[in-house]
Structure formats: structure tokens, C-alpha cells
């Protein structure tokens, strides 16, 4: 069993829609939870970084962590074509385990 499982997608939404991305993890020792955005042929860039359960908001992006159910979510409000990318969830302690990524396309 992989330590972090991510909904495979791909996901295609119209501009302005809410994008919902989800992951589950299996290791209860995980302390850090992150979402990365990766454009084609580029390295992942950090979007959101949380240390505990709850919600964290940054502009149009909201990350949720529920440690009791080992569930990680990312919501993108008012999605834009520039949000089209692959989104990777990650969880861990001193090292990260990654989900396989969900490719999101926002149609203009």
C-alpha cells in the first residue's frame, strides 16, 4: 500500500469553477502536509504547507487536513486557465511521501 494515495484524475473544469483535490495517507506519524503545483517539464513548487489538522487559506487556495481520517484536500476557488497543472499532495515527517498527482485543466 502506498503511503499517500491521490485521486488520479485527470480533471477538467470550466473557468471560474471550484477545483477539489483529495488525498489519503496511511501513516499516523505524518506531521507535515503539503500541496505542490507542477507545470510541464518543471520542478514542483510549494502551494500550501500545513502542520496540523484544520484549514489554511491563501488567496484562492484552501488546504484542509483531517488527521483523524487521514484525509488531505485542496480547493481552488474561481479557477483560472493558469491553474492548469499537475497537483501533488505530500505528507510526511523528516521525509515526504507523494501522491501520484492529479492533472487539472481549466477551460477558458
Amino acid at each position: 500500500q502506498k503511503e499517500v494515495e491521490q485521486d488520479p484524475g485527470p480533471l477538467s473544469v470550466p473557468e471560474g469553477a471550484i477545483v477539489s483535490l483529495n488525498c489519503t495517507y496511511s501513516n499516523s506519524a505524518f506531521q507535515y502536509f503539503m500541496w505542490y503545483r507542477q507545470y510541464s517539464r518543471k520542478g514542483p513548487e510549494l502551494l500550501m504547507y500545513t502542520y496540523s489538522s484544520g484549514n489554511k487559506e491563501d488567496g484562492r487556495f484552501t488546504a484542509q487536513v483531517d488527521k483523524s481520517s487521514k484525509y488531505i484536500s485542496l480547493f481552488i476557488r474561481d479557477s483560472q486557465p493558469s491553474d492548469s497543472a499537475t497537483y501533488l499532495c505530500a505528507a510526511g515527517a523528516y521525509k515526504l511521501s507523494f501522491g501520484a498527482g492529479t492533472t487539472v485543466t481549466v477551460r477558458a
Partner: protein
């Protein structure tokens, strides 16, 4: 803020040739350093991590090795490349002040 320099960006190597990918970190000291590989259409697989100079932990048995000769330098090597070594290699750094940061990656094609 800290920056990770990774080179080259693209590399095409024949089967059986050696490999050396270098990663250097600026803006932090004593970071944890990581090498990840991302195969096409897949997530990131942790290959090696290092918590200090000369300290290397390997996550998966493979044809690759890693070394950390200096605090902010991490090197990924192979003596003889295999076709299966093709992929996108990413160096990452972790520090308590900034979390995890990735370099821009090296796309390796073994032919």
C-alpha cells in the same frame, strides 16, 4: 529565502555510461537534502536523503548512489546507466524555517 540549483536541465546518456547530477543549496545551512525521481505520469519516488555531510540513506535498491561532500552539496551518481534510469530527477531541501523546496529538475533520457 533558500534556493536550490540543479544541473543540467536535460541530459541524454547512452546505456552503460556514468552519471553525475549535482545539486547545491543557497540561503540555508545544514539542510536535509533529498533526491527524488519522477517517472512519466507518476508521482515522486524518494531515492536518497541526507541529514548531514557524509550521511546518506537509501530508500530503494537501485543502480544509483548519492554523496554529500559538503553541507549544501548533494550528488547523484551511477557507474553504468540502465534504460530504466530514465526519468525526471529532483533535488529537494528541507529546513524548519521554510519546509520543503525543490530544484528545477534534470530530465534524464538513457538511450
Amino acid at each position: 529565502s533558500q534556493t536550490i540549483h540543479q544541473w543540467p536541465a536535460t541530459l541524454v546518456q547512452p546505456v552503460g555510461s556514468p552519471l553525475s547530477l549535482e545539486c547545491t543549496v543557497e540561503g540555508t545551512s545544514n539542510p536535509n537534502l533529498y533526491w527524488y525521481r519522477q517517472a512519466a505520469g507518476r508521482g515522486l519516488q524518494l531515492l536518497f536523503y541526507s541529514v548531514g555531510i557524509g550521511q546518506i540513506s537509501s530508500e530503494v535498491p537501485q543502480n544509483l548512489s548519492a554523496s554529500r561532500p559538503q553541507d549544501r552539496q548533494f550528488i547523484l551518481s551511477s557507474k553504468k546507466l540502465l534504460l530504466s534510469d530514465s526519468g525526471f530527477y529532483l533535488c529537494a531541501s528541507y529546513g524548519t524555517a521554510y519546509g520543503y523546496t525543490f530544484g528545477s529538475g534534470t530530465r534524464l533520457t538513457v538511450v
